[in-house]
Symmetry: C2
Subunit: 354 residues, 2 copies
């Protein structure tokens, strides 16, 4: 099975630190570069949450954690790494600069994944000497818990790199989905963006508050989508007549004059203020760290609940979770001494006996 031996993380924000946490908790050493003087503290905060979540997932013990090293440069961070994940801010010029530097110093066969949530890999790989090993590996927050990673190759990406990336992401418990055509924002963020834009209108026009809108989601289709996606859910909603019936019934709505759906709301200061203050009210005094812990507990509980469904085989993210935690448990039980040391020990025992 594919295995990451040593990883590098370039960028340690919410997403970068999430990658670091997933890798370390899989027992993989990580070298990180982030020029932010606060990076070490921020990464350690995310690690604290991640360790807590994995302890809940693995009550019998965690694998030995990988070692984390803070590098002074990109060159230093990528030295010796066979897997490099870039998670710097979403500016093409910055991506070019950072990827060129990674490219110059990384082993020629290292896989380079970019966490970009929207930029085309073809546009990012133009400044690289070995563009064939760059893929987009777009994760979802919190990266240490949510399994999805969208893999997108650019025009110069090799099919082999896509396959290796898929295997490497799967080896750390993720669900890789390869997107077959390169489009801005890929698939997940296209869907999120459509919903987000509509949500902004609903807040702007005072139809709901952010708390009411969130409740509308999490007491209805949110629960559905934790286990089946849009199409499977609608297949069932069609009842005995199935998908065709559903399409016939619901399809015509598409051209109804819900014009707001089609415009882009302007993010005025007024709208940002409204959302920020309604969001403060919705938090009911809980800090971001407290909300994070509640979220993580909930996510683990949902995946565990799904891991016991489908006659014990697990369903969706639950089936993956079952497999992932089983593998991590095995890794945790693995003796830390090497095979050679084990042999020597056995030989010594034989001598004593004899």
């Amino acid at each position: 099975m594919a295995r990451i031996r040593k990883a590098a993380a370039i960028g340690g924000g919410v997403i970068g630190a999430g990658w670091v946490a997933r890798l370390l908790l899989n027992g993989i050493d990580v070298s990180i570069f982030d020029p932010d003087p606060e990076a070490e503290r921020k990464v350690s905060e995310v690690m604290k949450n991640a360790r807590r979540a994995y302890k809940a997932m693995l009550p019998d013990g965690l694998p030995r954690e990988g070692k984390l090293a803070f590098a002074g440069s990109i060159a230093e961070a990528v030295a010796g790494a066979d897997f490099i994940q870039e998670s710097v801010p979403e500016r093409l010029d910055l991506k070019h600069k950072v990827l060129a530097e990674i490219d110059a110093h990384a082993a020629a066969d290292a896989i380079i994944g970019s966490s970009t949530s929207g930029i085309l890999p073809s546009e990012m790989q133009t400044a690289m000497n070995h563009p064939e090993r760059l893929v987009v590996g777009h994760p979802f927050n919190p990266v240490y818990l949510l399994p999805l990673v969208e893999i997108v190759g650019g025009q110069q990406t090799s099919g082999e790199a896509v396959e290796r990336a898929r295997a490497l992401y799967a080896s750390i418990g993720m669900k890789p989905v390869v997107i077959r055509k390169e489009i801005e924002a890929f698939v997940g963020d296209r869907l999120l963006e459509a919903l987000w834009r509509e949500a902004l209108w609903l807040i702007k026009d005072d139809i709901t508050t952010v708390e009411e809108l969130d409740d509308i989601m999490r007491y209805s289709f949110g629960i559905r989508w934790a286990q089946m996606g849009l199409f499977q859910v609608y297949r069932i909603a069609g009842g005995e007549a199935g998908m065709r019936h559903f399409m016939a019934q619901f399809g015509p709505c598409l051209s109804w004059p819900w014009t707001k759906l089609m415009d882009v709301p302007e993010l005025t200061d007024e709208l940002v203020d409204k959302i920020a203050s309604q969001s403060d009210a919705q938090a009911h005094g809980l800090s971001i760290r407290e909300l994070e812990r509640i979220r993580d507990d909930n996510l683990v509980a949902i995946m565990e609940a799904l891991s016991r469904q489908n006659r014990g085989k697990g369903w969706g993210a639950g089936a993956l979770h079952k497999d992932y935690t089983r593998r991590l448990s095995k890794l945790a039980q693995k003796p830390t001494i090497s095979k050679a040391a084990e042999k020597a020990k056995a030989a010594k025992a034989r001598r004593k006996k004899g």
Copy 2:
């Protein structure tokens, strides 16, 4: 506490039958009218699933089920009902006809809820003599499990009716959210519609298959939205800097040229065929009934998992689930004999003893 004494259901499709199931399992008698000769069989199929799900929720026993009567007319169905739920197909002319008939025969103070997922209550209540008691009560499938109901009043709806509707829906374990302004498709379906339209483009353009798209949802933001909605999730994603930071970072994407988002895809036969056949493949041989049972098991398991979170107080739909199942358990333990009969029994026992 508000209580439905006798309910009527007009329409027994997937949604109507879901209402019937929720009401009966709450111990409420229901009279249903549906001209479909297959209605009785269809409703009993839904009841079978619902009973199964409630048994999983309430291992110590269910409340005594309400009685179901199939009425020969709307007039017969609504006689004596204090709560009437209309779930007929989404055509305004049909809604007018059915609501006029309900209105003519129902008690003047009965609450009338419409399951419409998009038509304005103001447009529906024009043909009624007592329009003040009509509200939209828009549920989500499966109605017997998903708690959300969007309540929307029309121009002629009284504030008192909205409040009574809220209390009655809450009394059968639901999460009522009152939408403060009347707009087509309300809130939930606005959000669903935005995402659905974008999904159709992604399938039409062969970016993904329906199975890949569903996986992208259920291994990422689907799990998140089962417990926190869009805004709370993004508040956390902003990290320590919170909501403002998130808006500043993600906001500009809104005006990027993702033009496809803004057009309506045409539902050609070709697109319908593609989706229907990809959906067949995705079902992996499972029938609609089998998929329904898997879905229901998953939904119950997720709500149960969430009911144990937040230091045992439950979180979101889980907190509601905890309260709902507790109330149903109490109802199940209620002796079915009357207080008078109980007294007489006790007196008899005393006589025997003495």
